[in-house]
Symmetry: C2
Subunit: 180 residues, 2 copies
């Protein structure tokens, strides 16, 4: 470990900024694979939009680094690594298309929530540190993460979960359903 001691709030801000920067980069690496795995067209469209947004989040974070005179770069985000390992695990499993889609939505919402709270911390610290150029950029990223989470909730409740439940009924009729 060659990390410096965290003596100041600005050092903590830098730590968290590098963490979320790496998280966004990890997401850009995984979303294209997930796009190939999802089944419902509406879900694919929502995730395609979010992939584009995620790329723009990285560009905004580049500006945040510049605004506080830090070199651009991430440090490995272990939290996002674990969350994305769960996405990968789900992609390796077989099952009914609509049921897997419901699972993908839940998995991506865990991604969104990690980012929503990380941006929340960064925003609170930027306010106190007077990082006025960074604030609108961080807020824009958080706003889009919240919106993406809401879109996925709506999609799950309005269609995907219902299709997944219907799949269960079909499976029951075909005696494929595990007893529970």
């Amino acid at each position: 470990m060659f990390m410096p001691e965290i003596v100041t709030l600005s050092a903590l801000f830098e730590d968290e900024l590098r963490d979320v920067y790496d998280a966004e980069i990890q997401i850009v690496g995984v979303l294209p694979k997930l796009l190939e795995a999802v089944n419902a067209g509406q879900l694919r469209a929502a995730l395609e939009t979010h992939l584009e947004e995620t790329r723009s989040h990285i560009l905004r974070l580049n500006q945040v680094f510049e605004s506080v005179a830090l070199r651009v770069g991430g440090t490995r985000c272990l939290g996002m690594e674990g969350i994305l390992d769960e996405v990968a695990e789900l992609m390796e499993e077989g099952g009914h298309e609509a049921v897997l889609d419901a699972g993908y939505i839940a998995a991506v919402q865990r991604v969104e929530h990690y980012e929503i709270t990380s941006y929340g911390s960064l925003i609170a610290w930027a306010e106190i540190l007077g990082y006025s150029d960074a604030l609108p950029l961080l807020r824009a990223n958080q706003r889009e993460e919240r919106a993406a989470d809401a879109v996925l909730s709506d999609l799950a409740r309005s269609s995907i979960n219902l299709q997944a439940a219907a799949a269960g009924l079909q499976a029951s009729e075909a005696s494929l359903s595990p007893v529970n």
Copy 2:
């Protein structure tokens, strides 16, 4: 991999339930160590309360398993493992007490947000599956996770972040602050 294919929404519900059950158990393992590391009395008190709540979440989840006639048990939650690795990483670092406290709050809020969204998925699925005995238990857990997250946000904004920023000013005066 000996996991069954996810053919039904009830099988997906079981997967997610075992994931969050393991997550809660992991949290109960880590929070006592974090309690030793935190500095501010108010933060320690908030985390002690949440440790007790987390133990009660596990008891409620036992009831959820029973209500849907599933054996009680978790499967390794990789997402929470990564998130808690970040807590451990922070505990290993040195720094100013108030700054580290601000970091601990952010790290625990990532824990809370993982659970808030996981319970959200479980609740949405339980509604469709007609798991009426499970619903109030899952909603109670989610409500306490949300409340814990709000308590931590308030604590950060009302005192810990300000103390952390003051620490930075002291550090600057002592010329210990990294240039940024």
